[in-house]
C-alpha cells in the first residue's frame, strides 16, 4: 500500500494519513480484515512521530473504519453508516458542491466527475473480480 503524504502541506499530517487510508478502503485496496502497518513502523516509514500516526488511527477508529488490537495491530472493520454520519456527510457535501457551483462549474460536469470517481471506487470492490 502506498500512502501519499505531503509533509510540507498546510493540512495536518494525521488528517492526510486518515484521508489516504479512507481512500484506500474506498478503492478496495484495503478490505474488511486487512491489516494496517503498526503505528511505529508507519511513523518510521514517513520519518514522523508515532503519536501522529496514532492520532490518524484513532480518528479512523472513531469513525468505525478500523479496530485497534494490542499485539495484533490495526484491522479494517467496516460498520454501517448511521444517521448522524449521513447528516454530517451531507452537510459537508453541500458546502463542497456549493463551492463548485459558486465558481461556475457546470452541474453536469460536477456530477460527471463525481460519477467517474465513484465508478473507479466500485471497479475493484470485494464482490467478485472476474
Amino acid at each position: 500500500m502506498i500512502l501519499n503524504v505531503d509533509l510540507t502541506s498546510d493540512t495536518p499530517i494525521y488528517q492526510q494519513l486518515r484521508d489516504r487510508i479512507v481512500e484506500a478502503i474506498a478503492e478496495g485496496v484495503l478490505t474488511e480484515g486487512s491489516l494496517l502497518p503498526a503505528t511505529r513502523a508507519l511513523a518510521a516509514d514517513f520519518g514522523i512521530n508515532f503519536h501522529t500516526v496514532n492520532k490518524a488511527y484513532d480518528l479512523l477508529r472513531q469513525q468505525g473504519l478500523i479496530r485497534l488490537n494490542r499485539g495484533t495491530g490495526a484491522v479494517v472493520t467496516l460498520t454501517v453508516a448511521d444517521p448522524p454520519f449521513r447528516a454530517d456527510w451531507t452537510a459537508r457535501a453541500r458546502t463542497l458542491l456549493a463551492e463548485a457551483a459558486a465558481k461556475g462549474l457546470p452541474p453536469e460536469e460536477v456530477l460527471a466527475t463525481c460519477r467517474s470517481m465513484l465508478d473507479s471506487f466500485g471497479a475493484n470492490q470485494p464482490k467478485d473480480t472476474p
Copy 2:
C-alpha cells in the same frame, strides 16, 4: 440573508462564515454585485470580533468570490474556476466521496444526493426567473 453559524462548533467561526457565504452564492441568494454586510456590522450581529469576519472575507477574496473596497464594502464578484482550483476541488471531492464509499453508502444514493443539491442550487439562478 441569514447565516447560520454555530459558535460552539469545533470548526473555526471564520470557516463557517466562509462556507455559509459560499452556499448563499451557490443558492443564488447572493448574486454578482450583491453587497455583503460590513465586517464590523456582521461581527456585532454574531457577537464576535470583527477580525474573525475579516479573516472570512479575506478567504473569499483569495478565492475570487468577492471584492473588497474601502468605503463601499464587500461585493460579490464571480471569477472563472482556474485549473489549480479545479485540481484542488477534485482532490477534496475524491476524499469526501471515498468517505461515503468506505462507509458503504450506495453510489447511486450518493449521486442522487449530489444531483438534488446541485438542482436546488440551480433552481433560483441569475438566468431568468419566470
